[in-house]
Symmetry: C3
Subunit: 186 residues, 3 copies
């Protein structure tokens, strides 16, 4: 009987220990609990394409203007966007949602941006939103940003999104492939 | 004795399994560990209300200015704010903190914004901050954004906040009801 | 035998309970799983220091301009930065990474800002990024913001960063000590 009681306490201690570890550090699983790939399409306003444009410069340094991109790797240009999200790389495919938010070019000697945006889904496949933040050193083939939260179908999600410039045309159009790997699903 | 050892290992295995699951996916509890309702009040500068205004346009597209809101659903207007937070819906109630951050109108054909802000508390009830990010399709009756972190009393918090426009007066005043549900409390 | 089965079920119940608790609330460990201290250095463009400047005003209220800081505690100034990160407080030490993002002064009667930025590491010691967001009431000796995510060496990190103004020179230079405490490591 005494042995059983000791064993019981030992178990309880182990359970407690391993839980603390689970919560803070050790036995996390690096296999995504959900994985999704999307494309989004950004058409920047350049003074002549108001009808098609999905984004526009709304902040710029003292030495620049808000119609064309600034010199020095666009340093200081703040762009707001509302871009269609598609399942494949075709701009004209039926959008499954909108990528909404902003990017700021933040470096003078190379193209790099800081991103804050959401994927807002309102399709038969997905409802809800995913929120993203992170640095985008856009000359790198791939770059990772954070999935910092989610709502609806993506309630409380967290993860990493790998961005890849799938295509671009001068300073007016670019298409980003977004490989979303969620490691916390509820 | 042998049976007991086997049973012990079985238990340990189960503990391990369930912890990995807990960390990544399965047995999360969708019942909030903390719930808080607040109101915050935004008075936008319009050229004539410098004394009372709690927010101002600081970025706008090339075709707009920073004194009055842009056309096309205010697309491209970036607004910074420092708004009082109250426990009830009365602008003149004693504030319990300040809502500080920004919103950007990001869509041409409907009112939608992207929000990045904090609730900064410094009252007898609450000390610390909650940080928020997400899309705010403000024509919807309610919309969910993410609680992406917290400090002080809200150390490491994560959750979802449901926003509701409780009242507004033209383009100068609006009041948001914020129903904060935290699902990760430390 | 019957007793053993009851005890087994009791254990399973306890394991389940404590896991749900671990995931949402109770037995989190407030001891950091990783702690890092860095300094970053911000040199604001003021019209005369284009060569050395690491940041620039890119948004400002209607009553201000983008070359010098606005009155009223710089309310409304949006600054983009790409600042060197060093291990010690010497601006000329070899940088281990770059702090990239933005801050917005968001209050009229006291210096307070809202921060969204990343630490981007590309050194022998660290590779990857840490993403931050939060309110910075910069007249306080220390202030806490959230680590909202990470990539690479900081995969899925979450935590709190304590900022301290280590030095400043007028409105052109400041140095922030950043004490990063991660409580979720993968």
């Amino acid at each position: 009987m005494v042995t059983r009681v000791i064993v019981s306490f030992l178990f309880l201690f182990l359970i407690f220990r391993s839980n603390v570890d689970a919560a803070n550090k050790h036995i996390r699983n690096r296999h995504p609990c959900k994985r999704l790939v999307f494309f989004f399409h950004d058409i920047l306003y350049n003074g002549n394409n108001a009808k098609n444009a999905t984004s526009a410069i709304i902040g710029a340094p003292a030495w620049a203007n808000r119609t064309i991109m600034a010199g020095q790797s666009h340093f200081g240009d703040l762009v707001v966007f509302d871009d269609p999200i598609t399942m494949d790389n075709n701009l004209h495919s039926k959008p499954v949602g909108r990528a909404q938010g902003f990017y700021i070019y933040d470096k003078k000697d190379v193209f790099t941006a800081w991103l804050g945006f959401s994927f807002v889904f309102n399709s038969t496949q997905h409802r809800g939103s995913l929120n993203f933040a992170g640095a985008d050193p856009l000359m790198n083939k791939t770059r990772d940003i954070s999935v910092i939260g989610g709502t609806g179908d993506f309630f409380m999600a967290r993860g990493v999104a790998t961005l890849m410039t799938d295509s671009f045309e001068g300073e007016v159009y670019f298409r980003l492939r977004t490989d979303i790997k969620l490691y916390e699903c509820w």
